[in-house]
């Protein structure tokens, strides 16, 4: 059986290689702390295998995770100077390669979907699944990325095999610590659950929703996602909170909703909130600044009349398809 853990090790090795590159990057004013961030992250991906298998203590990883947060809070990881092609070179390359440039990228969704939809059901001779159950798409994504990279290398023929690693680092440094924020939020969800946050919110929402009303519960989850997202500016942060409070206890457990539908639509309801909030500055305020608008809320004003009916659509889709 192909295990998803192999793939986490690939991610871990990628982060460790990035850390080594950063350590040697003299243009990065924060190279030591930055290398520490990516290095600890990479090692934690490998160590995580043993934590999941209960063969190593989890608290050690817990300390590492808090260490990562402290590093992020202290301004790490920082960026080095970008070593990539100039705009003029890119224009010339675009003329040379044309639409073939899209090909490597298209390999990713096609192969990942193939794994998720088809290989996920393939069984081995002994009757066990070829791919680890529940992880077929993730495994597919790993295979797809490697295939896409092979296609890209064959097509573009960069001068050294290290080029994609450098380019990957350029993008990763651009994202910075935000690359692991979703994983931190997922971790927070687990802590919320272990400490009874979900149960406490559930007691509050019991008073808000008429007993046994499915439509009221669906609306509470979707509107709650949107409102929390508007306040925090981030649907990712709203998701663990609202799911622990309403999505899981009420919609999935009590009303027997289909988890995939409930959670997918719940997140999208949060996105309706993102369209409306100045707290999501990089999506809503930065474009106004880039376009030199007089009214910095111009994009939000253009988006609110779409967000409100779309939130209604989400409530309807969840109500009709999840139950």
């Amino acid at each position: 059986m192909i295990k998803v853990e192999w793939f986490y090790w690939l991610c871990g090795i990628f982060f460790v290689l990035i850390a080594l590159q950063v350590l040697n990057d003299r243009t990065n004013p924060k190279r030591i702390g930055s290398a520490a961030f990516w290095g600890v992250l990479g090692l934690s991906f490998g160590y995580g295998t043993f934590v999941v298998n209960k063969t190593a203590p989890a608290w050690l990883l817990g300390i590492a995770v808090i260490g990562l947060a402290v590093l992020a809070g202290s301004g790490f990881p920082g960026k080095g100077q970008e070593r990539t092609t100039t705009q003029a070179e890119r224009a010339r390359f675009a003329d040379k390669f044309g639409n073939k440039l899209f090909l490597p990228a298209l390999v990713i969704p096609v192969v990942a979907a193939l794994f998720g939809a088809w290989l996920a059901k393939v069984k081995l001779g002994d009757g066990s699944l070829l791919l680890q159950s529940g992880s077929a798409t993730i495994i597919g994504l790993g295979v797809a990325s490697l295939l896409a990279l092979a296609v890209g290398m064959a097509l573009l023929r960069p001068r050294s095999p290290a080029v994609p690693l450098h380019e990957g680092r350029r993008l990763l440094e651009h994202i910075g610590w935000a690359a692991i924020l979703p994983q931190m939020l997922a971790t927070l969800g687990l802590l919320f659950n272990a400490s009874g946050v979900g149960k406490a919110v559930g007691r509050v929402t019991d008073h808000l929703v008429p007993k046994g009303s499915l439509i009221a519960a669906v609306a509470l989850y979707c509107i709650g996602m949107a409102v929390f997202t508007i306040i925090m500016g981030n649907a990712f942060a709203a998701f663990p909170v609202m799911t622990a409070a309403v999505g899981w206890p009420l919609l999935v457990t009590q009303f027997d909703g289909t988890p995939a539908v409930v959670f997918a639509i719940g997140m999208l309801a949060g996105f309706c909130g993102t369209l409306c909030t100045p707290m999501a500055a990089n999506f809503n305020l930065v474009p106004a600044a880039l376009l030199e608008m007089k009214d910095q809320y111009g994009p939000i004003k253009a988006q609110i009349p779409t967000a409100i009916p779309l939130l209604g659509c989400n409530i309807a889709i969840m109500y009709f398809f999840a139950f």
Binding site: L101, G134, P182, L190, L290
Partner: protein
């Protein structure tokens, strides 16, 4: 009930724009302490949670190949293709851009759009150009309207397209979180497929509003002309 303070930590921390990683960590510690977990148990929960949700961060394996094709002119090629399109009106141009942005985001090509990469250098000039051909020099009200809608076409297309692609943070967060917390085994692709109905609704609603924008611009231009005449008198 005091455990709800942990949620307040998240809300206030994010609203105050403190470092999100610290906010999340603090909220976790607060939840654990109020919930009666011992310090070791809290550390264990951080470790178990982080190990169990590693799938959330696997999108990073796509970065080397995306960076590679960017190096060889991906954005330039996308700009060339979009620039070739010709449209009579602002609204139709933005509606087609919405469709392209959403479709490419659904295939994982999120980096070919964006306010800095596409809207400012390409989409907004094309949209404003189409309006100028129709109305002459644009009064400020029209300019602002076109800018706001050009930005919105990009954002709406991205939000409700990217969720159809499996290797995106929001999808992986959903599966990583519920798998680690509730012991489910959700396939990322099932979540992604359920983003399609909402994606279609977003395209229809925002697309219709972009097409309607042409009429709004007509009306704004008429008003502006009438005002100008008043002033001339």
């Amino acid at each position: 009930m005091w455990v709800l303070l942990a949620i307040a930590v998240v809300v206030v921390g994010f609203a105050l724009r403190l470092n999100s990683m610290l906010v999340v960590t603090a909220a976790g510690i607060v939840a654990g302490l109020i919930g009666g977990l011992s310090p070791v148990k809290i550390l264990n929960a951080f470790g178990d949670g982080f190990a169990g949700s590693r799938s959330v961060t696997v999108f990073i394996v796509t970065l080397p190949v995306i960076g590679l094709i960017e190096r060889y002119g991906l954005q330039h090629q996308a700009r060339k293709l979009i620039g070739k399109l010709t449209f009579a009106t602002t609204g139709r141009l933005l509606a087609i851009y919405l469709l392209i942005r959403q479709g490419t985001a659904a295939l994982g090509l999120t980096s070919i759009g964006g306010p800095a990469q596409a809207v400012r250098p390409l989409i907004h000039p094309m949209a404003a150009g189409a309006a100028e051909r129709r109305y002459g020099k644009l009064p400020e009200k029209l300019q602002e309207k076109i800018k706001g809608f050009a930005a919105s076409a990009d954002t709406v297309g991205l939000f409700f397209g990217e969720d159809i692609f499996v290797a995106i943070g929001s999808i992986l967060l959903i599966t990583g979180f519920v798998d680690a917390t509730y012991g489910l085994q959700l396939e990322a692709i099932d979540i992604a497929l359920w983003a399609i109905p909402t994606g279609i609704c977003a395209l229809l609603i925002h697309g219709a509003r972009l097409l309607y924008l042409d009429r709004q611009l007509d009306a704004l231009a008429r008003e502006a002309r009438a005002e100008a005449k008043e002033v001339a008198k």
